[in-house]
Amino acid sequence: MSEYKLFAGCVIPNRLPFLELASRKVFEKLGVQTSDAPFSCCPDPVGFQSTDKESWLALGARNLCIAEEEGKDIVSLCNGCTQTLKAVQYDIARASELEKQRISDILAKVNKEYKGSITVKHFVQVLIEDVGIDKIKSMIKKPIELKIACHTGCHYARPAEVMNWDDPEHPIYLRQLVEACGATPVDYEEEVLCCGAGAGNAKTEYGLGVLKRKLDSVISAGADCICVVCPACFTQFDTQQRALSKMVEKEYKIPVLYLTELMALGMGFTPKDLNLKYHGVKTKNIMEKIGL
């Protein structure tokens, strides 16, 4: 397995470092080698692309150039970063000569040249393709016997022509990984529904409205917790349940685990090792349930 450039993004290193911790521990156990690089903001495919597409494209292309210079592929910990970097590649490949020239002129100002020579992967893809389910299963010492609602999130496999990974309508790989940890993925109606983080950017109530529809479906399926693979979804579920409870006067408090946290627990790390205390929705009940 060759070394990847780790694209940790802004949210994980700068707000949720415990998710980076779990990811680094899991990668190390599984032999996924990574190195850091001076990447800027990816930038955000929802926010910054909506603000100014050209700035978004140019900053994304610069990040890709950095990995290209080392001839290494990128592994990303975030749906948004993955989508931006893949969409920038997709857009540049289909741009007119004039647009291509414009991007290359901008990059020349910072002595960069875009080649389109590397592959960008979400970490789920690396776990499935480079490590494999069997190896992961063999590393699980402590089966996590919980019922889990898998939430892949919007920019994981949509738009299909850009992401070119998993099934956008019935994603399977997160379920397989959750199962490999000894957990049971539950079936629920709104599995591919957005977490609502994006809608909240324009109007708080819209974001909470989408969140409610999602959580009601998770709850009626009898899930113990939600498993996510994106820090934006993590933040929405982990911090906005309180606001939702206030808005609808009904308590919502379903714990959220990022996939590498779940895997690390299965590999024998403790909630303390992983700093689960920094979660907004407390994980104490589910940890007790599995004897941790």
Binding site: N14, P17, G47, F48, Q49, T51, R62, V110, V210
Partner: protein
């Protein structure tokens, strides 16, 4: 109501090299759009596409309420569903970029863009988190992108595009 030819040219320019996909106004996009549902129809992707394809800029930009444009959370669900394979979100980006320059973006987007202008990251590092990282034994967050970001964003004139905020 009048057609804005320049606006129409930009929107349809997306399709110059391929076949123009006509919008059937079938409303499948509205049916699957989660924001259309929670906003009781106040946000309506079908109508954004209609107005954009017809070049009716004044129905989208310069309105007292910006939800008609900014309600969309780019969840990419409509793209997947449209029977005409219209890449709706590509059109939404064009409309939103114009709305930004007209001074009509929601605060969230402006704050984020300014953070990127200033620090190169949408979510800059804080001292408290730096401390927490070192307690956890995590390496320092790599730096060395700041100057490049400033040079690039000067070239794309982001500050000018945000001049109304």
């Amino acid at each position: 109501m009048s057609m804005d030819l320049e606006f129409r040219r930009i929107v349809l320019g997306k399709y110059m090299d391929s076949t123009l996909h006509y919008c059937l106004q079938c409303s499948r996009c509205n049916d699957v759009c989660p924001v259309n549902e929670v906003s009781d129809g106040a946000y309506n992707p079908r109508s954004v596409i209609l107005n954009a394809f017809l070049g009716l800029k004044e129905n989208l930009i310069g309105k007292p309420n910006n939800i008609a444009v900014w309600g969309c959370q780019i969840c990419d669900t409509c793209n997947l569903t449209c029977p005409q394979d219209i890449e709706l979100t590509d059109i939404f980006y064009i409309v939103k970029n114009l709305s930004v320059q007209a001074g009509e973006a929601p605060e969230y987007y402006v704050i984020q863009a300014k953070a990127i202008l200033e620090s190169g990251k949408a979510i800059p590092l804080q001292t408290a988190i730096e401390r927490r990282r070192s307690q956890m034994g995590l390496p320092e967050v790599p730096t060395g992108f700041e100057d490049d970001v400033k040079i690039i964003l000067k070239e794309t004139e982001l500050e000018e595009k945000l001049s109304k905020y």
